[in-house]
């Protein structure tokens, strides 16, 4: 794992602070799945998860001018999510169901580490099946990549290396790293497109 460098979300956060609400939407799309998974481990009622996640992002949006960047944006958002979930549970006078994995990740500012976790309570059989299909498609798409593209996307997404570090590892210019990661993403996205159940750009 690489040492903590500049926050990858710094440009987006700064843009939101300048009044661009749409930049905040980009952060939402980036972190919504992780935040919902976190909240899903804390509450029993699966119907509450999206509502608490929405409240988390609204609170983060309101508090963003006070975010000083002392920690990564995701770490900051993570804490807001935990506090929002706890408050929701207190308001509902329910006992939180906090798993060891959720507690262990409370100081986690690593957005690239892979954890093998049990499915959350909110996963229905249909959703589990769909998730497995998506995961299998992504894995198959990665296997189909050339060695250069597979190594570049893996070093970035799994190992969390910066472009400069990947360039060192792969002994190539940073521009090449940038291009390989982009082409790997495009190739995987092409394989996933039938599962997106929407044409390119529709609804987004």
């Amino acid at each position: 794992m690489t040492a903590a460098g500049p926050d990858v979300d710094a440009a987006l956060v700064e843009r939101v602070k300048q009044g661009d609400v749409r930049a905040f939407e980009m952060l939402v799309v980036k972190y919504q799945r992780r935040i919902e998974r976190l909240i899903g481990r804390m509450v029993r009622d699966v119907d509450l998860v999206p509502d608490i996640a929405q409240e988390t992002f609204i609170r983060a949006y309101r508090a963003l001018p006070q975010f000083r960047g002392d920690s990564a944006f995701y770490t900051w958002l993570y804490r807001i999510a935990v506090n929002t979930a706890k408050k929701a549970l207190v308001d509902l006078k329910r006992d939180p169901l906090v798993t060891d994995a959720a507690l262990a990740g409370s100081d986690d500012d690593d957005e690239t580490s892979r954890r093998t976790l049990e499915p959350s309570d909110m996963a229905t059989p249909e959703a589990l099946l769909a998730s497995k299909e998506i995961a299998a498609t992504v894995n198959a798409a990665i296997e189909a990549l050339s060695e250069d593209l597979r190594q570049a996307i893996t070093l970035r997404e799994i190992e969390g290396l910066s472009y400069e570090e990947i360039a060192d590892v792969m002994n190539c210019p940073i521009g090449t790293v940038r291009s390989r990661i982009f082409r790997a993403r495009e190739a995987i996205a092409l394989r996933l497109r039938p599962l997106l159940d929407t044409r390119d750009g529709e609804r987004w």
Partner: protein, 214 residues
Amino acid sequence: MTHSVDDPNERRWLQLSALCDGEADTAEARASFEGWRDDAALRARWHSYQWIGDVMRSDDLASAAEHDQAFLLALRGRLAKEPVVLAPARTDSVVPAVASAGAQLAVAGGRRQRWGAPMAMAAGVMVTGALVVMSSSGPQPTVSAGPVALQVQTGAQTVAAVGPSVGASAVQVGDMLRNPELDRYLNAHRQFAQGSTLSVPGGVRQVAVTPDGQ
């Protein structure tokens, strides 16, 4: 091996991919922000790139894309009702405490905002006047020099807290512009202050007391 990018769309998506990883420069990031506003295909790609990364890291993040879309649409509706956030810009001339005071004034309501500017101007006039008195009349009698100096110092702090630009310029400028009307007012004020001081010398005047009681 580098990949030449001639297609404008592909170039924008390449920049978007770099923004995903925090590796886009300022111009590239700006292009992506603007693209997010106007380009549905770019928005879809942003989701795909993030989704791929999540699934690579953990299978249980492979949620359905429709759910993600519905989540964003619902949140977008709520965000539309929120006031736009604007972080206060940091400048070298404003200390953090002043920025905090300014922010408090800004959110305190229309009434305080209406009075903020006139009060800052009035305080600035006080500081200016006090400096004019000090520079034009030379050393003052011991009895009045203390209170005037204190008033200047207090006034400068007040102005700096309310309107840093006014206070800073008034304090930094050594030769003040003379205003005849202001001079008349200040002279009258000074005479009044001296007169009242002389009329009750025992009440204001400070004397040194030696250990032997002299």
